[in-house]
Symmetry: C2
Subunit: 463 residues, 2 copies
């Protein structure tokens, strides 16, 4: 009945690939929990009203309708309809407000879930993918130290993934206040517009961005070039950052006494703290990179993107920032800071570029052979004995010829085949034996005590 | 910005509740993998064509539309639209056909994912919930032994959940062929109709079912009562089952020579094998219960429902069956057998009836205190030292008064508070100390070697 039909933008892993994804998820979860983050899962849907307010991805929402409503969808205003979440930050802000009475603040949470983007299908873009997020949300205020600690948690998590082929990751940080202060100092007012165009720099190049700044954001040629100069600024420590920034302000006539400079300086001080503190704890993990803008307009301070050495085409694999106004309830504000790993693209890179692969498809370390169907209960008993000691075990699907049974184990990558005692072909009272079908070693074994060699004990991810 | 608003039918757990759900998921996954099942995850969407063909739940589909398509949804035929999957069996059958060239058969897979049912909102019904499934799918044929092994894997998985408050589970099994043969023997022809009404027995009672059988399924009063008599039949072993069934056939004039009886006997033999084999391995885990019908019409042989002792109102918490015709490709068939746990309802029962709860909200075993913000780097270093040894650690959010810091740890259930050496108020060179804020014990500690007491080391689920 069901006809196979892949749907563009909805990736699905084969079992061996899923092993890699699952291992990545397990690893991230472990790092997040070691750092005291609390795991939550939010429903897949939010109201249209909640989804439509936030950021540029609001164009890319999937709305739901019940089958019975087909043809009558328009009876319900979009705000009241349900849509699939496009990220995990908007749901978090809603969750925090909803449960503000019971949560302990600051609320540190991790969340690994699918998100959906109702884009037009196009090459290499996912419409369904997994995000892995950490955020800290405060009640009223949120200490600045989280703005360096969270990127460092992500760096340490990504570091754990290097054994699966991930290159070294570097967080590139900026601060919206720094950019805004500078733009205002130049005399520009369409700050969101400028940020949006600067965000395209890597994609369309400087000349094209300059053109867009002039045509769409009220900049003259000089202002546009100044914006691009700011975007070129990078620094590995706070001192270098301040010196380079001040030189740029002097060049463009932005006075250190101006309100605009004061705003920029606020952002600069936070950014300097971030790079200096990160350098102290984990040198080379975070740099200041003033071209980082982030498309989403809910960020109000620090913004982050993360790049992998030698994988420029992948773009940022872990992004985020500080948002002071995403969640509020009456006069109460819940400022937050967080980062999100685009997990599906990361796994795709590991599989297809880095060559990460599962050591075997089946979790089973051993398959018990079945000499004939009457012996199946005995084979099941052996398998259950092994399972009770934590050894994953399968049983041959049929009492086929031994060669065929071994072929099945081999296809699943199961390293050991167990021969129950009934095997003895010469009628002697031989005991159980187990054979490593990779090395060819075969030896007597007792299901009550046998252990697989360490290297074959578990499914692993190799390069 | 975001206003809290829970949406009927879309349950969300608080952090402490999520700990229980996560533990249940981890436990099931471990049991499934110990039994050699391979984990997959399928995309959340299927085509309308694929969703609409299968079972009675096809009424309850959520269709998707991109925001840009609003008002033009009807331009696309429902068959070509995307909808959210309502179970994990239909996606599995599609996945198997799509990847039949690379999978090893029989393909044993586990899958734990959310599913959606586009029902009208009503009391106690979930529109989004998690299912935990195991299935075995064969290529061409599928040995019968899986029809007893799979329910037993589920029983052993549910057994593991008893430490979280789940009562003993009993699988009630039937066989569609047995029912069909009996109904045909009575002279009935609308088999699907009769099964559908019998499936309502627990909900609406025998008299109402009899009325529906007469009014809607072409049965006379005698036939309807015979169907109900069959539904009352239960048996703990194959011999008892055969005797009771044959007595019923004799009573209603169904000859053992008839084609109808031959069909019923096929089902009976499989069912007898299931209860006898299950009784041998795990007495009391599986009984024959001929009222089990299952709403989904893709089942062709064995069907299962699972009930918990003393939790009748919960209904079946783990259901499934054998389906021979769900997946096919040209002349190739992929018969399968599987069971599905309604995980969200199970977790709801554990939380709200059995009283399962997390030992603490935070995964952290220890929170490092911060005497003043200048000392934060030292506190972070202690926490990182602990984390590097696998001890989950948090750091106080602010250098508030110690009482406030301890209150934060207490609210998260973190059992230990670590006092860095800088604590010494009398100026003496005192080392680090750690306090168990539950027992009040305090002692010197070195982050390089300290271990929490076993009972406080990890987040656990208690009753």
């Amino acid at each position: 009945m069901a006809k196979g039909a892949s749907i563009s933008g909805f990736p699905e892993w084969l079992p061996s690939e899923r092993v890699v994804e699952q291992r990545v998820i397990d690893t991230l979860r472990r790092v997040f929990e070691l750092n005291g983050f609390i795991g939550i899962e939010t429903r897949a849907v939010e109201t249209g009203a909640s989804l439509l307010k936030k950021g540029e991805t609001s164009k890319e929402i999937y709305l739901l309708s019940r089958l019975q409503e087909v043809g009558h969808e328009s009876d319900t205003p979009i705000e009241d309809r349900l849509g699939l979440h496009f990220d995990l930050t908007v749901p978090l802000s809603r969750y925090v407000v909803e449960h503000s009475g019971t949560l302990a603040f600051p609320f540190k949470r991790w969340q690994i879930q699918k998100v959906w983007r109702g884009e037009r299908p196009q090459e290499g873009r996912f419409r369904e993918f997994v995000q892995a997020d950490i955020d800290v949300v405060g009640n009223g205020d949120l200490p600045e130290h989280y703005e360096v600690e969270l990127p460092l948690v992500m760096v340490s998590a990504l570091e754990q993934l290097r054994e699966f082929g991930l290159p070294k990751a570097t967080v590139h940080a900026n601060n919206r206040k720094l950019s805004e202060g500078f733009y205002r100092g130049l005399g520009l007012t369409d700050i969101e517009g400028v940020l949006r165009e600067i965000d395209k720099l890597d994609k369309i190049g400087a000349d094209e961005v300059a053109r867009l700044l002039v045509e769409g954001c009220g900049a003259n040629e000089t202002q546009a070039r100044a914006c691009l100069e700011l975007a070129e600024l990078t620094a590995a420590d706070g001192k270098e950052l301040a010196e380079k920034f001040d030189a740029l302000c002097t060049k463009h006539g932005i006075s250190t006494d101006s309100e605009a400079y004061a705003l920029a300086r606020q952002g600069l001080d936070t950014l300097a703290m971030i790079v200096d503190e990160a350098a102290r704890i984990r040198p080379g993990s975070v740099i200041a990179d003033l071209k980082i803008a982030r498309g989403l307009d809910y960020y109000t301070g620090s913004v982050y993107e993360t790049f992998l050495d030698g994988a420029d085409s992948l773009g940022s694999i872990c992004s985020g920032g500080r948002y002071d106004n995403l969640a509020s309830q009456g006069s109460k504000r819940y400022p937050g800071v967080g980062l999100s790993i685009g997990l599906s693209r990361l796994v795709s890179y590991m599989l297809h570029t880095a060559g990460a692969h599962a050591s075997r498809i089946s979790p089973a370390a051993v398959m018990v052979a079945v000499w004939n169907e009457d012996d199946r209960p005995a084979a099941n008993a052996i398998a259950n004995q092994l399972r009770s000691r934590g050894i994953a075990a399968d049983v041959a699907p049929t009492a086929a010829k031994l060669g065929k049974q071994i072929k099945y184990a081999d296809k699943l990558g199961i390293p050991y085949v167990w021969f129950p005692a009934a095997a003895s072909e010469d009628g002697e009272a031989k005991g159980d034996e187990v054979k490593n079908i990779i090395t060819g070693d075969q030896c007597p074994a007792d299901a009550k005590s046998w252990e697989p060699d360490t290297v074959y004990a578990r499914q692993t991810v190799n390069l």
